[in-house]
Amino acid sequence: MKRYPEIKKQNLRMFVFLVLGLVLSLILMSLPLYSFDVGVYTKKSANTFVGDEKYAAAKAEAEAVAEEYRAQGLDVEVSEDVLERVNSKGKTTSLVTFTVSQRNSKNFWSFLGKDLPSSTALVCILGLMAFSLIFTVSGLAGSFDLMHRYLDQRSKIFRSLTIAILLIAILLIPVFILMNNFTFSRQLSLYNSNLVTEGKELFYARMDRFLFDGQMGESIGDVLSGLDIQHSNLIWLLIPTLFISLLAAFSLRKGEIQSSLLRLCLYVFVIVVCVVTLYPYYVMLITAFRTNAESLDMYFLHMFPTKWIWSNLTDIINRGVPRFLLNSLFVAGGATLLAMLCGIPAAYALARMNFKGKKIFLGYVIMSQMFSPVVLLIGISQLMTTLHLNNTLWGLMLINAAFNQAFAIWLLRGTFVSISSEMEQAALIDGCGTVGALTKVLIPMAAPGIVTALIFVFINAWNEYTVATILISTAQNRPITVGITQFSSFNMIEWQYMFAASLLATIPVVVLFMTIERHLTAGLTSGGVKG
């Protein structure tokens, strides 16, 4: 096994970077993160105007007190507050208040052992950082100057573990921030305003220990109610500093700085795209299980419902949602069946036979795909009235089948063309007849393509909204897409029911779609045009 001095040099550099990132993070953690002022002395001076003698005297007094505190080594500052008002006799009075307040600040280390929810997160972050260092050292030991492809299994595992652990540590930082913001703004204000009293004592005791090392004791309630905790945004810098470590760990694993940087950017990009994509679904999920009050709460600072309300699901069952789902199933299922029954023969003829007007037919069908029913809504509603299909599921089914005909034929024709016609010819020679050749030979062979087209049409019909709003006028005939809108009216929107129903309508379709995604994309762009 050959050893390479330049590899050694590079690994050393990366190791230094990793340690540097960790050290920088520790330095950041020692900087003040949360600060708050506690008044220690107040001097009120009535009938005092800014600049006059009384003002100067009161100010001097306050400054003197402040000096005393400063002599004790405390960080205090003097602030003034002027209250002017015109009394009933039309005379202006003024009250000047000088407050000497002690400036306190807390950094990361203050959280340790304080029993706050975020303390646990902090311990996890610190622990992960420590482990990442241990794993790096273990991963490097004995293989410091080896090419990456010569690394043994053990080193590889350790190096991968470092990456995973650092990634978790980075992800825990927002969690830590969230927990803190929640504690210091929401929870504190709820207890202070006596809206919630359960667990108040315990919470106050914990805050006392965290903020004043338990010195406030009984008076903590009063102190907390006047407290304004400021947080510094410095805390976010932890992410980039830990990111340096992560980058170094990546390079140690991959061997090249440039490629690992690109790789990391790729992951960041993919993660951002996935998070943005999933965000509305997260909102849908959590709102579906909240109470109505929580879903309309202006200052609701939870990431998840405080209590998962499963009864939302039973509530919507009583409000007709199963009926809507069944309607949708009937319409979408029927439309799919019809689209297939009409589409398969047409696609077969287009794929296997030569005849005059083939291109015209193809053009005719594809043109029909171009028009959403919306442009033709007036015509459709007129037609449905003539056919006495207004407000029936049958009408909806026929429209859906017709408007999906183009895609069905498009996808099916592509599938049929890609299958060799030899087998059918053999069947024809055996005396099967064209119908027999189609049903016994071609359809089984083209099953994956047919299933793709089937599911695609089903989903389109399931998700259809516009025509249904026009055609369906009675509640019991509504498909689910129209049904969910019944939970929103002018004066009240029951978001939790709306999203619980949406969730039921979405999950099956998304699962179905995932199964056909691969076939569908191929069919969309090339299937229809293979001649």
Binding site: L178, F182, N233, L266, V273, C274, T277, L278, Y279, P280, V283, M298, Y299, L301, L338, C342, P345, A346, A349, R352, M353, N354, Y364, V365, M367, M370, F371, S372, V374, V375, L376, L377, I378, G379, L383, L398, A401, A402, F403, Q405, Q425, I459, W462, N463, Y465, T466, I470, T481, I484, W495, M498, S502, T506, V509, V510, T521, L524, T525, S526, V529
Partner: protein, 295 residues
């Protein structure tokens, strides 16, 4: 292509019959009805009267909101199609790389494509509410903002949000179309280019783009048609309020005919929309046919 066996001359047409019947009755027929109605007098109750020539069209062009609505439609189609094509293309390039969790990323990206537009529009409608919207909650929770932001302060901003939702639901379609094009590119082309010392941009311009162009064209033209036809997003989020200032042509049409009972101008607008779509469809057909000829 022919199986070479004896068929009667009319047999292929028999096979096409059910499909033709379905499309003719439920697509072609409504088109004809709309055309006929657009030249007829229609009462508020919907009773069709005599032939009145182009009166409905004149009335449609004179509608106070007509210009705004047309501009909105233009902005809506252009911004959504262009931005989602660019975004979708970039995402497809990234997803075409080999990395761990690629399948999961693919699966996640399917979500917006498979979900009903009404549902997505409703969720975004909730997210950006000022009083209790989730976006404000999350930003407040993370300490990024100190005070709730009004994300829908004016109708212009609301329209931008509608465009964002449009982009959000359109990107996956573009991505998957481009991906299917990318996956059919022969890897050896890139290897040869790398041997010749071609950089990333060079390879993108001279190999990737020309070979992905057909799928990109198909997805763009289809998107123009879909986005133009899109109804639920605008309808769910603003209903065109205030005074049709956020309406696109499709939602305006709907409002005119089913809320304001102006069926005459509505049918005229339908025909105008139909003609615009025909133009797009024509371009689409030409590109598809040309591609077919090439193969």
């Amino acid at each position: 292509m022919s199986t070479g066996l004896n068929r009667t001359k009319w047999e292929p047409y028999l096979w096409l019959l059910p499909s033709t019947l379905l499309v003719s009755v439920f697509v072609l027929f409504p088109i004809l009805i709309v055309f006929k109605l657009s030249f007829s007098e229609i009462s508020q109750a919907g009773v069709v009267g005599k032939f009145i020539g182009f009166d409905n069209y004149v009335e449609a062009l004179k509608l106070p909101a007509f210009k705004t609505v047309m501009m909105n439609t233009l902005w809506w189609v252009l911004s959504v199609v262009i931005l989602s094509t660019v975004l979708g293309f970039i995402i497809a390039l990234v997803l075409n790389q080999k990395f761990r969790g690629r399948k999961i990323a693919h699966a996640i990206l399917v979500f917006p494509w498979a979900t009903s537009l009404v549902i997505q529009a409703s969720v975004w409608n909730y997210i950006i509410k000022y009083e209790y919207g989730n976006l404000n909650n999350v930003l407040l929770n993370l300490g990024i903002i100190k005070q709730a932001i009004n994300f829908r302060s004016s109708y212009q901003v609301e329209f931008i949000w509608e465009c964002w939702v449009g982009i959000f639901v359109t990107v996956p379609f573009v991505t998957f179309c481009v991906l299917s094009g990318l996956q059919s590119i022969d890897v050896s082309l890139y290897e040869a280019a790398t041997m010749d010392g071609a950089g990333f941009w060079h390879k993108l311009r001279h190999i990737t783009l020309p070979l992905v162009k057909p799928s990109l064209t198909v997805s763009t033209v289809l998107n123009i048609i879909y986005v133009f036809n899109s109804f639920p997003i605008v309808y769910t989020m603003t209903k065109g309020a205030p005074a049709h200032k956020t309406d696109t042509m499709i939602t305006y049409l709907y409002m005119l005919s089913f809320y304001e009972r102006k069926k005459g101008p509505a049918t005229a607008l339908s025909v105008i929309g139909f003609l615009i779509l025909c133009l797009c469809a024509g371009i689409y057909m030409v590109t598809v046919m040309r591609k077919e000829d090439q193969q």
